[in-house]
Assembly symmetry: C2
Homo-oligomer: 379 residues x 2
C-alpha cells in the first residue's frame, strides 16, 4: 500500500471518484473558440449544458462572452441567477414549464426555441411578458426542427409573431448533431457544408425582412474544424470547453486538450487477465462508449495522474473495457499491473464529458477547490 | 394543446422528466423476494444500490428485513443514519476511505469485501474498531473476486484474520453478474448452477472450521428464477425492487412488474418520420441500451400514463430509438402521432432502473409525494 493519508498534496485528499478540472486547459479551449468566432465575424453563444457551472460561466465572461445557450429552462434559471441576461434555451420549448417561462421572461432576454404554430399560440395565450423566438431548422440531423422545405410553416409562424403581443421573431437556429457521426475533419467539413448551405437558403429568404435576425448554428465538431460559418451570425458549441475522447475520435481535438479527467481509486488488480478494477463506474461516467478500430468497446482511457493533479497520456492507449454501477475495468499490461497497487489513484479521460459532468454534479480544480455545478434534479 | 395547468391531478403537476414509482408494484416485488428467500431457507440481504432511498429501505424493514448490501461506503453511511445496523459493502474495499471505514466500524456491524492479503494488512494497521470481512469469490463473471482455485490466498487471508485484532472472517461473497448476458430462464439457470457449484466447493472447504460463516450470492436474474441456492446462507439481489426492461429482456420479470417509469413531456412530433421527441434524455435515463431482435437499439419503451400516474403497456412495443443529453426520440406510428400532442406526458420504462434512479436522485410516488434518495456526489 502506498497510501499517504497524512500528506496534504491534492491527490492524497481524494478518496472517491472525483472529476478533476484543469482550468488552464479549459481557459485555452475557451480562448481558442472566442478567437475563432471573432475571426469568422460571428458572435459566440457558448452552450453551457456541458459544464453547467456558474464559476466556469464566469471564466467565459472574462473573455467578453455576454450571451449563452442552455438545454433546459431550469438551467436558464440557474444562470439567470448569476447575471446572465441573454439566454437561448436551445431545445423545443417545454410548454408544461409555462410558469418558469413567465418568471424568466420578466427577468432576462429569453429566447425560446419553437418549431410549430401550435406552440406559439399556446405561448401567446399564456405569457404576460415578451419572449424572443428562435425557429429551429433541421439541417439533416433529423432530431428536431422544421425541415428546410417547410417554408409554409415558417411563414405562418413568423406571420403569427408579427401580430402577436408577446412573441418576437428573433431568428433561426439549427444543430448539425450528425457531425458526431463523422470520423475525420474532412467528414466534419462535408456535414458543415451541407448544413450551412441549407441554412443559408433559409436565412436568405428572411434576412431582407429581418435584417437584424440571428442565425445560430454550430456544434463542437464543426466549430472546432471550420473557419467560416456562411449564413450564421452566431455559433453555439458547448462541449469544447472540456472536449473528450469522442471529440478526439471524431477529429475535433487532441487528447491533450481534454480538460477533465476522473480520479479513480484502484480497488483490485488481476495479473491472470491483466486487468485493474477501479472505483468509478456508470454512475460516475454515464454509459457512453464507442467502438475501437479492433471492434472492442471503450468506456474511457486511463491516464497517469501527477502529484499536482495534472495528467500524462500513456504511450499506448489503455482502455476502460467495461463499466458497471460503481466498477470500471481497465485492460492493462504486466508492467502497469506491477506499477499500480490497490489504493493508488489513476485518471480516466471520459468518452462524453457532458454526460460525465452531469453525473458528477461538481468538479475539483487542481488548486484543490471544488467547482460548483447546477443541480437540477434536487427534490 | 391539451395542457390542464389548473387541474390538481398528479400528472398535471409534472412539468419535467420525473421518475414515477408505483409503490404497489414495488411492494409486490419485495414481498415476492422475501417469500422466495424464506422458502429457500436463506436470509435476504437486499442490495440497496438500486433504490438508494431511506424510505424504500423502510418498506423492506416492514417485511422483517434487517440486513442490507450497498455498493459504496458513503451509501453505507447514508443507510446507517436510518437505523440499518448490519451492512455489507459488496465491492472490494476502497482503502482510501479509511476515515469513513473507521467511523462506520464504531457505529454498525460493518462487512467489508476483500480479496487480497495486502488490503487486510492495511485495514488491520489502520483500524481501531472491529470490522467483518467477506472474501469475494469470482464465480466466472471475471469482474472482481478471487478465482476458485486460489485457495492458497484464501487460506492466507483467513489465517491472517485469525490472529488479527480488528478483522473477523465473516464469510464468502460472490456475484454472478454474467447472468445479465443470459436471454432466457434456462440460460440464467445454467449460470446459476455453474456458479453455485464453484461456490459450494469453497464453502465446503471452510464451513467445518467456521460453522456460522455467511455464504452470500445472488443477483436479480438468478434470484428471480432459481428456487434453491446450494451453499448459500443469504441472497443479495437488488434490481428486483423495481426491475426494468433489461430484466424483462433476460427473462427475470414481466413488463408489468416494472415499478418505475419516467414521465416525460412531449416537445415535438414529426409525421414525416413518425417520431415523437420528449424532454427526457441521457441525463435522466443514463445511456444504457440493448439490441432488439431486429438489430436496432432500444433506450426504453413508451407506456401510456393514466390520470392516477399508473401506466398501461401498448399492444406492440413502442421503442425509444435514441437519447441525447435532454432529448429522447420515440419511434411511433401515424395513430400515436395523432393521439399525442406537444405538451402531453408519456411514460418510458427504463432499460436499467439502477442507473436511471441514480441519474434522477429521487422519485415521485403516485400519491404525489416525493421519495427521497441518497445524494452521494454533493459537493
Amino acid at each position: 500500500m502506498q497510501l499517504k493519508t497524512n500528506n496534504a498534496m491534492l491527490l492524497d485528499k481524494i478518496d472517491k471518484p472525483t472529476l478533476l478540472l484543469d482550468k488552464n486547459k479549459c481557459l485555452t479551449n475557451i480562448r481558442s473558440m472566442v478567437q475563432r468566432a471573432a475571426s469568422a465575424g460571428v458572435h459566440l453563444r457558448p452552450h453551457f449544458k456541458t459544464h453547467q457551472s456558474k464559476e466556469i460561466g464566469r471564466w467565459f465572461r472574462g473573455f467578453g462572452v455576454d450571451r449563452i445557450a442552455v438545454s433546459s429552462l431550469r438551467m436558464a434559471a440557474y444562470f439567470a441567477s448569476d447575471q446572465w441576461t441573454d439566454i437561448t434555451v436551445a431545445v423545443p420549448v417545454n410548454l408544461r414549464e409555462i410558469g418558469l417561462i413567465r418568471e424568466l421572461a420578466g427577468k432576462i432576454r429569453l429566447q425560446l426555441t419553437a418549431e410549430s404554430l401550435a406552440s406559439l399560440q399556446f405561448l401567446e395565450k399564456n405569457l404576460n411578458e415578451p419572449v424572443e423566438i428562435m425557429i429551429e431548422i433541421d439541417p439533416g440531423y433529423h432530431r428536431t426542427g422544421l425541415e428546410s422545405h417547410q417554408t409554409d410553416t415558417l411563414d405562418a409562424m413568423i406571420g403569427f409573431m408579427e401580430t402577436s403581443s408577446f412573441l418576437r421573431f428573433k431568428g433561426l437556429l439549427s444543430h448539425a448533431g450528425h457531425s458526431y457521426h463523422a470520423n475525420s475533419p474532412a467528414a466534419i467539413m462535408d456535414i458543415h457544408h451541407q448544413s450551412t448551405d441549407l441554412f443559408q437558403q433559409l436565412v436568405d429568404r428572411y434576412q431582407h425582412r429581418f435584417p437584424d435576425m440571428t442565425a445560430s448554428l454550430g456544434d463542437t465538431p464543426t466549430c472546432s474544424t471550420a473557419h467560416h460559418f456562411p449564413g450564421a451570425t452566431e455559433i453555439r458549441p458547448g462541449n469544447f470547453v472540456f472536449y473528450d475522447l469522442t471529440q478526439h475520435h471524431i477529429g475535433s481535438c487532441s487528447k491533450s486538450q481534454i480538460a477533465v479527467a476522473m480520479a479513480c481509486p484502484v480497488i483490485a488488480s488481476y495479473s491472470s487477465r491483466n486487468q485493474i478494477v477501479v472505483y468509478g463506474g456508470g454512475v460516475h461516467f454515464s454509459k457512453d462508449r464507442y467502438t475501437l478500430p479492433d471492434g472492442k468497446t471503450s468506456f474511457g482511457e486511463m491516464v497517469f495522474l501527477q502529484a499536482d493533479g495534472t495528467w500524462q497520456l500513456p504511450d499506448t492507449p489503455i482502455q476502460v473495457v467495461s463499466l458497471s454501477q460503481e466498477h470500471g475495468v481497465i485492460q492493462a499490461d504486466a508492467q502497469l499491473l506491477q506499477q499500480l497497487q490497490v489504493g493508488d489513484l489513476v485518471g480516466i479521460l471520459p468518452i462524453h464529458s457532458c454526460m460525465t459532468a452531469d453525473c458528477m454534479k461538481g468538479y475539483l480544480g487542481l488548486d484543490g477547490q471544488p467547482i460548483e455545478m447546477c443541480k437540477i434534479y434536487e427534490w
